[in-house]
Symmetry: C2
Amino acid sequence: MKTIAEYTSLIETSIQSIQFPSGKLESLYAPIKYALSAGGKRIRPVLVLMGSEAFGGKDEAAIKPAIGIEMFHNFTLLHDDVMDNSDVRRGRPTVHKKFDINSAILSGDTMLTLATQYISEVDNENLRLVLETFNQMAIKVYEGQRLDMDFETALNIKLDDYLEMIEDKTGALLGAAVKIGAIIGGASEKDADLMYEFGKMTGIAFQIQDDWLDTYGDATTFGKNIGGDINNAKKTYLYVAALAEGGQTAEALKAAFEIPAGEMRVKTVTRLYDKLGMNEKCSKAVGHFSSKALKALNATSLPEEAKETFRHFAEKLIGRKK
Amino acid sequence: MKTIAEYTSLIETSIQSIQFPSGKLESLYAPIKYALSAGGKRIRPVLVLMGSEAFGGKDEAAIKPAIGIEMFHNFTLLHDDVMDNSDVRRGRPTVHKKFDINSAILSGDTMLTLATQYISEVDNENLRLVLETFNQMAIKVYEGQRLDMDFETALNIKLDDYLEMIEDKTGALLGAAVKIGAIIGGASEKDADLMYEFGKMTGIAFQIQDDWLDTYGDATTFGKNIGGDINNAKKTYLYVAALAEGGQTAEALKAAFEIPAGEMRVKTVTRLYDKLGMNEKCSKAVGHFSSKALKALNATSLPEEAKETFRHFAEKLIGRKK
């Protein structure tokens, strides 16, 4: 198998070679080009290529569906940024800021259909299963986003509900990406399902780690400002797990979120997270879901070398300590 | 073949029997149920059923894709109403007014994926062609909506560009609906393409007629207020064709749109349309595209009885004189 850098480069080249209609339809396609050119880690399409190659598929057979997965991911970013009213994404203005809200909605819709077209570029024998995997994943992602939005105004969120939300919103896409790759590569149904489990659990661990980094990470390597979630009063794993502890400290935590956004709020909330052992609890949860991911991976019929490549991928993704 | 009322009733029953998840996902699915329950003429899914039966297909084989087409149509309404800032649809608050903008965006996205799932419920042998027809149509619809939005601020619109816009925004969906039905029914490629042409041309004629009705229709049978397009300064067929005439009257028309929205503006614009012969020009255009539709229909291998049913359908759709 190739290195992750080689897969990423293959994806980047393919994305840059996409030809969009221009002329009077420029206003529809410019936002799509803008969104796709922002880079990012291309984790999801890389997983498609890796899944395919691991089971004996050629890159040519998996590259279009890989682009489809990246197109889908970026479509969700366009619409989520409108819904969450986010101004910045990957250090640049979001699509609705750079263009306008209508462009983000309509070009986003276009990306979803383009994604479906790319996903469908597989052999006839695989079309139905690949398409079903993709569509079912998409529904899960919408459901996850809906739960996430509803959490904003919810007074009490159960930890299980939070985990369900990130499983839908983040886990399903990583799971579907690697499963679609595996199907294209010729994996058995059992192996394809195990790879889905690997991707899904890796996605959940990744999301919890991302929540952890917001409080305990290092701003220079994290690439975002520390405490952003705290200042936005975002319902993260730390927040939900901390409140689940109950008692006086939980009450103090609720009060801390009444402090005006800024350094003081971040410091106070972080101190309470410390007191409740959230640093360790979070790391433990990341370890728990990472183990589940590796257990599924180990149960596949893949050769040891391929398993090692996936382990390395998961470690790189989740393991960024600071 | 059945009567149009029978097809419509079949669609209505099927839509009402759809089971959506409830519980904590109610907030995602309630807007979808609300949108689908608004009724409407169900023209597009009826065309799927008609196309299928005409070529020997059973209703059971076409009903799911028919629902998919109606689901897609309603998804576009949810998003278009946000983009166009429309408050009322079929006499009720639009989804983003009844719920909120985020619900219209996210539940709309969900409807697009649900539509793709329903569309895919066809035999394996037809899956690829049906899916391609659907996805290509969807892209055309987005392109049409983009052109329509861009026209709002455009100073000069060519009549050809206007026709391209309604071909994309309205014609493509009617064409794809009847073509997908025809494919399911077992039509030859040639017949399926001719039926697409029939649907597309019928759609264009229908849209021009709809523009005409806004000025020359009768409020009680039209179901909308006369002059709504004039008061909203909408770039309709009448407006674009009138300006294309050039000269003093065209200049007077531009000035008339500076009159504050209300009865006076509607009267003045209508008088200028009259002067430019727009009533006749519009009727002539409707006749032109209707003839093209019938020509395509007549070229199919369908038995005369089936052709007669489609003629009747087109006449009912376009022919509403006032």
